[in-house]
Structures are given as structure tokens and as C-alpha cells.
């Protein structure tokens, strides 16, 4: 069969010699192919590459931005938390100081009050004692006078004399006690 084909082809041809029609056809066909690939294929593939790179880089950039935002927020929150702790500590300290001051004031006032009450009581007691002494003295005098007048009769009714006698008696009494 091959032999028939060769017979049909006829002429003897050196396979190393290029045929002009084939060169021209090869040039045209490859030229069309090259043009199509240059115009329609390579730009599309490059577009896909570029889009992919952009998508990946965009994603990374977005993630970085988000991370930075989150970091900033965390820092702000920590700052706020620290401030709040500080504030709380300050308020506690202030409260303690105020409490101490109030207690001290109260104590002082109480002491003052106590002192005042004691003073007052002393004065009252003293006054009552004076009063008691005075009234006792008068009563003892009148009692003694009454008793003595009953014993010795009516001789001591003169008031001046009576008072002198009583005084002397009491002085003697005190001396005797002492």
C-alpha cells in the first residue's frame, strides 16, 4: 500500500530540502496561531494571574488591617481597664482616709462630750453637796438647838447667843472628828 502511495507521489525528493510551499504555509499558519495567542490567550492568562495575586494580597492586607484594628481595640480596652482599676484604688484609698478622719473626729467629739458631761456632773454633784451641806448644817443646827432648848429650857432663845453656841459646837464636833 505504502509502495502504491510512493508510486503515486512519483518524484524522488531529498527530505532535507525544504519545499517552498511548505515554508510559506508554515509561516502563515504559525503566524495566525501566534497572533491569536498574542491577542487573545496570553492577556487572559496574565489577567487571571494578576487577579489571583491581587485577591491573595488583598486578603492578606485586609487580614492585617483587621489584626491591627483588633490590637488597637485590645490596647484601648486594657488601658481603660487599668484606668478603672486605678480609679477604684484611688476611691478606696480616699474612702479609707475619709473613714479614718470621720472616726477620729467622732472620737474627739465623743471625748469632748464625755468630758463635758463629766464636768457637768461634777459641778452638779458639788452644788448638790454644797446644798446638802448647807441644808444639813441648818437642819443639824435647828435640830440641835431644838434638842438643846428642850433639854436646857428656854434660856437659849436669844438668837445671837444661840448661833454662837451652835457654831462652837460644830467646830468642836469637827475637831473631835478630826
Amino acid at each position: 500500500m505504502i509502495t502504491d502511495v510512493v508510486m503515486a507521489a512519483g518524484e524522488e525528493h531529498d527530505p532535507l530540502m525544504p519545499v517552498l510551499s511548505e515554508i510559506i504555509l508554515g509561516l502563515i499558519v504559525f503566524g495566525i496561531l501566534l497572533f491569536a495567542i498574542w491577542k487573545f490567550v496570553v492577556p487572559r492568562f496574565e489577567q487571571a494571574y494578576a487577579d489571583r495575586t491581587a485577591a491573595i494580597e488583598g486578603g492578606l492586607a485586609a487580614a492585617e488591617t483587621k489584626q491591627a484594628e483588633a490590637d488597637a481595640k485590645l490596647a484601648a480596652l486594657e488601658q481603660q481597664l487599668g484606668d478603672a482599676r486605678h480609679e477604684a484604688a484611688r476611691i478606696r484609698e480616699e474612702a479609707r482616709e475619709q473613714g479614718a478622719a470621720i472616726i477620729a473626729e467622732m472620737r474627739e467629739q465623743a471625748q469632748t462630750d464625755a468630758a463635758r458631761i463629766v464636768e457637768h456632773a461634777h459641778a452638779q454633784i458639788e452644788a448638790e453637796r454644797q446644798q446638802a451641806v448647807t441644808s444639813l448644817r441648818a437642819e443639824v443646827g435647828s435640830l440641835a438647838t431644838g434638842l438643846a432648848s428642850r433639854i436646857v429650857g428656854e434660856s437659849l432663845e436669844d438668837e445671837a447667843r444661840q448661833s454662837r453656841v451652835v457654831e462652837r459646837f460644830l467646830a468642836d464636833l469637827e475637831q473631835g472628828v478630826n
Binding site: 525528493h13 519545499v19 510551499s21 515554508i23 504559525f30 492568562f45
Partner: protein, 267 residues
């Protein structure tokens, strides 16, 4: 492997009068399908249609999260763009050359794999004429890039005078370097691809037609050899799968290396 095959073919020739005609260069001269148009020409046009359809469809969504087709397209594109172009040209200028290198890689790859696809079964680049334009474009590109970067004379000096050699040896080195860097490169690019595709196809045709012929001889031993030839043919097909990819890769890689070298500041 090929030794066994040719020995078998020789034996047949010696034994039988009818004769087995081993496939030679003439199997690459296919008759025109219509007018002046041959099968390789149609295959070449078909490859452009296939590649444009695949790349346009896979790149059109340009989605951030790729679908299956876009993922496949990006895998090929990324391979050429990053592993071949950027590695060898450097990230400053490589994007200018990516469209050419991407088209070149797919163009060679698809046309090579034609050789293994049933019914198509012909590597377009076993016709040297189709390779010449590609090698010429690569040649113009790396020389153009060098002249753009260093100026015409600066590039010639850059390409032919190696840095750091004694002055007295330059009269010897400069013609050699000129030959190897300016003249020979497009030729080796062309011949490497052509030779691999040409030889691979001959080998496959030989195993297939030879095996078929041996089976038809009616001799039990020859038939066994025919079966062996088919098995070897299948093994060689798998080898060709690798070779076809490698040739597309090497052509693209060398083109980008030449460009990168022309754009380099120093050797």
C-alpha cells in the same frame, strides 16, 4: 531493536523473491489530497485550529478560582512562562517572548503527537519545510533582542568575543564563535527536530509494515518474528511519546536560552 528489524528485513529479501520493500525517505512524500494540498499541510492547519480552540477556551474565563479546562491551560502556560521563559530570559524582559514561546511549544507538541494518533499518524515536522520558519523566527528574535540590548555592533561583539580571553587568541575564537552562535544555531534547531521526527516515523512504519509482511509469509517462524516486531513497535511508540514531548521542550528551551544569552550583560 532496529538492528533486529533490519536483519529480519534483509533475511526476507534474501529468502523470498517477492521482496519486502523497507520504508525509506519516500514514505514522507505523500500525494496531494486535492490540488497542491498534501496531508501534512492539512495537519498543520488543523493543529492551529486545535491549539487556538484549546487556549482561547481555557483562557477565556480568566477566573481567580480556575475550572478544569482553565487549570489545564494554565498548567501548560505556566510551564512555558515560568519554567522555560522566565528561567532563561530573566524576569525583566521575559514577558515579551512568552506569546511566541507558548505558541511555539504547543505548535511543535501537537504536530509531533500527530504521529501517534490513529488515522492522522504523520508527524508534520518530518517535513523540514515547516520547521524552517520556526527556526528563522527564533533566530531573528534572539539576534534582534541582542541588537536591541547591545546595539548591532555591540551585539556582534557580545556574541563573538568571549569575555576574559587573551587578545592574541581572538582572531581564532571570533570566527568560531560567530559560526556557532550566529550561523549554526538555526540549522541545529531545524535538524534536531526534523531528524527526531523523521527517524521516529520511519522506525514505526518499519515495525508496522515489516511485522505485517512477516505475518503474511505463512512461515511459522517469520510470523513469530512479525509478532515480535509489533511488540517492539508498541514499545517504540511509547518511547516516541517521550521524544515528541522532549523535542517540543528542547526547541522552546533552546530558543529562550538563546534569547536570554543575547540579553545577558556578560557571559
Amino acid at each position: 531493536m532496529s538492528v533486529t528489524a533490519s536483519m529480519a528485513a534483509a533475511t526476507i529479501k534474501a529468502a523470498g523473491g517477492s521482496g519486502f520493500h523497507a520504508p525509506g525517505p519516500e514514505i514522507f512524500n505523500l500525494p496531494p489530497v486535492f490540488g497542491e494540498v498534501t496531508k501534512p499541510m492539512l495537519l498543520l492547519c488543523l493543529s492551529a485550529v486545535l491549539i487556538i480552540a484549546f487556549t482561547v477556551l481555557s483562557s477565556r474565563p480568566a477566573a481567580v478560582v480556575p475550572g478544569r479546562l482553565q487549570f489545564a491551560g494554565e498548567a501548560v502556560y505556566g510551564f512555558v512562562r515560568n519554567s522555560i521563559a522566565r528561567e532563561n530570559i530573566g524576569s525583566a524582559h521575559f514577558m515579551r517572548f512568552v506569546p511566541y514561546l507558548f505558541a511555539l511549544f504547543l505548535f511543535i507538541l501537537v504536530n509531533n503527537y500527530y504521529a501517534l494518533i490513529p488515522l492522522l499518524q504523520f508527524p508534520s515536522f518530518s517535513r523540514i519545510g515547516f520547521i524552517v520558519p520556526l527556526a528563522a523566527i527564533s533566530w531573528l528574535l534572539y539576534i534582534g533582542a541582542g541588537m536591541w540590548k547591545h546595539g548591532p555592533l555591540g551585539y556582534l561583539k557580545h556574541a563573538t568575543v568571549p569575555a576574559g580571553v587573551p587578545l592574541w587568541i581572538t582572531p581564532v575564537l571570533v570566527p568560531l564563535e560567530f559560526l556557532s552562535n550566529i550561523i549554526v544555531r538555526p540549522a541545529t534547531l531545524t535538524l534536531r527536530l526534523f531528524g527526531n521526527m523523521f527517524a521516529g516515523h520511519i522506525l514505526l512504519v518499519l515495525f508496522a509494515t515489516g511485522g505485517w509482511y512477516l505475518l503474511g509469509t505463512g512461515n511459522f517462524v517469520y510470523a513469530g518474528a512479525g509478532v515480535l516486531a509489533f511488540v517492539l513497535g508498541i514499545a517504540v511508540s511509547f518511547l516516541e511519546v517521550i521524544v515528541m514531548f522532549l523535542q517540543a521542550y528542547v526547541f522552546t528551551l533552546l530558543s529562550s536560552m538563546y534569547i536570554g544569552e543575547a540579553l545577558a550583560d556578560e557571559h
